[in-house]
Subunit: 385 residues, 2 copies
Amino acid sequence: MNNFTYYNPTKIIFGENTISRIVREIPSDAVVLMTYGGGSIKKNGTYDQVKKALKNYEILEFGGIEANPQYSTLMKAVELCRDKQVDFLLAVGGGSVIDGTKFIAAAVPFEGDPWDMPAKGAKVEKALPFGAVLTLPATGSEMNAFAVVSRKEIGKKLSFGAPPHTFPQFSVLDPSFTRTLSARQRGNGVTDAFIHVTEQYLTYPQGAAVTDRMAEGILKVLIDEGPEYVRESGDMKAAANIVWAASMALNGLLATGVVTDWATHSIGHELTVLHNIDHARTLAIIWPGMMKVMQEEKRDKLLQFAQRVWDVRAGSEQEQIEEGIRRTEEFFNSLQVPTRLSDYDLGEDTIDKIIENLKDNGFTALGEQKKVTPEKVRSILSHRL
Amino acid sequence: MNNFTYYNPTKIIFGENTISRIVREIPSDAVVLMTYGGGSIKKNGTYDQVKKALKNYEILEFGGIEANPQYSTLMKAVELCRDKQVDFLLAVGGGSVIDGTKFIAAAVPFEGDPWDMPAKGAKVEKALPFGAVLTLPATGSEMNAFAVVSRKEIGKKLSFGAPPHTFPQFSVLDPSFTRTLSARQRGNGVTDAFIHVTEQYLTYPQGAAVTDRMAEGILKVLIDEGPEYVRESGDMKAAANIVWAASMALNGLLATGVVTDWATHSIGHELTVLHNIDHARTLAIIWPGMMKVMQEEKRDKLLQFAQRVWDVRAGSEQEQIEEGIRRTEEFFNSLQVPTRLSDYDLGEDTIDKIIENLKDNGFTALGEQKKVTPEKVRSILSHRL
């Protein structure tokens, strides 16, 4: 178990009909910028609820933050904030809106080119305070200080984070906001949360028993509740547990005391950049190949995963490991999430492009042991044709 | 799953040789009062390490905070703080020192009689900032805003908490500080953490799958690592996991979305007040009786506990429930923690006194369903003779 620092000051306000509580969290004299995406919050009633809760505030709005939020879009919001002296941001949406809002919050007081934050790791000394109202459980952005932003024109999708400045001050997690989500959004969300856990858990034994047990518990919840949630039955027990599991999956706790992987994400990001595949779906494509190819390095944890998470007990250790991987891929498919490049009509020729793009971002080897070399990436992707 | 608010801003600095980092957390111009207990920190080297880390600070000291910290002792520290204009407290010790320091922190700026905070739930509007260096994993006080204080002369042991004011700003969790702990302190610590989890988990099904899985995971870690830790083998993997498990057991996460019990604690406190039995040991006495007597109310969760935590699968449901309770009592005994009143030469006559004391504190019924009536308490204690 490694030394670690854990700090997470985001206040979680969880449950149905809790949105009115945000007035206790935002200074009453604040000029608030409400950020959102393509307008689904107007259809599902969240927009109205937020406006009602903040009726005594001076509120500006910035809609149109897209999936994989774009630098060019976000910079328009930065200008607006500087112009209108906004002093509190409220992100209403899913991971893309919250990620974009983190970038805006840090960029407003940033001196220099804000793209340097993700591109060059430029030091962020402050940020506008902000909160979030989550409408789509998936990324965990509502309870961490990290964000991914994209710049289409130069083919980049990069992450940045500046804790403690870029933690949401609060996040409202109302599971009833999931009622209007499509099966696709639900399946993606469960898959995204699942792979956030495995990126931290499926490495090698590190003696971190507490962290392992928590990771296994979150995975079991996603497996137990995911299918019901994706069936859109309106079951609020399933929705509530998926919402809380997705936040717990990436709030820092599952990284306590361990070295983490994230190679699946790095490769997946390139699939999104090149082919505009939903983030979670890129992960579901890469993951089974990653586990098969990196099986030797991850052997002990893959066996623990098969036994503790999937309750696999029959067969040799090798058979158990394979069964764990097989059941996981089957689980993604059961959520209506495809797991093959061919499902997107992609073939051999995309593999070279991905490796090229990764190298262009300075990649020599990925993963918790830096053993995912370009050759391994080729092998992983070849498995996924 | 109930609505909840979760907020925990304590920064955890975890690992060996991390104590020097506290200088980043305490303002350099602060007048610091270092609080501690009976002096064990001078024998085990912690005192010297803290003094070295804070060599550039103005430091005052207040030692002698006893187990079950006493109001009269703590009020001396309050006077000292007011006199010397202390503006930061650093608790170096176990749960009693940290609890006592929380009381001091809140009492210093309190207008009126500070005993009103625990006795009358008087509103606490502010507190001195403070941090902790944990030397004994058990109570979880290092990562929550709650404290228990005692007033021997009137036979009271009462809890209070004033989040966010009484959260430690940081806590250093260095597992090597456990090296000099006795087997008794270790066994008590594991037992205390275990029952903190069950007080939140062993109620009735509340649909909180994430919370349940985390609770079960923490219990499994205590079961897996506790015996090695109590053997004093010096195994730092076991110690590190026990330290982190004890903090996780009572940092608020295991209460998310659920109604909690705490009846075992309420009764146990009276055993400490009357007979000066170590806190954890009172819990180990009460717990098996509580589970047996409240079996009907807790039936579903006791079965889940037996199956998921103890992997009991054989026999009828009733037999599985009983096996889970039996194994837990056996586990406490394996940690050298006795579980009977007779182990302390106590008999029938103590039962009346406990019920009388509880009534004196306003008790009519305890537990998550308020079904632990005075008659049930009599029955629970009769089981433990």
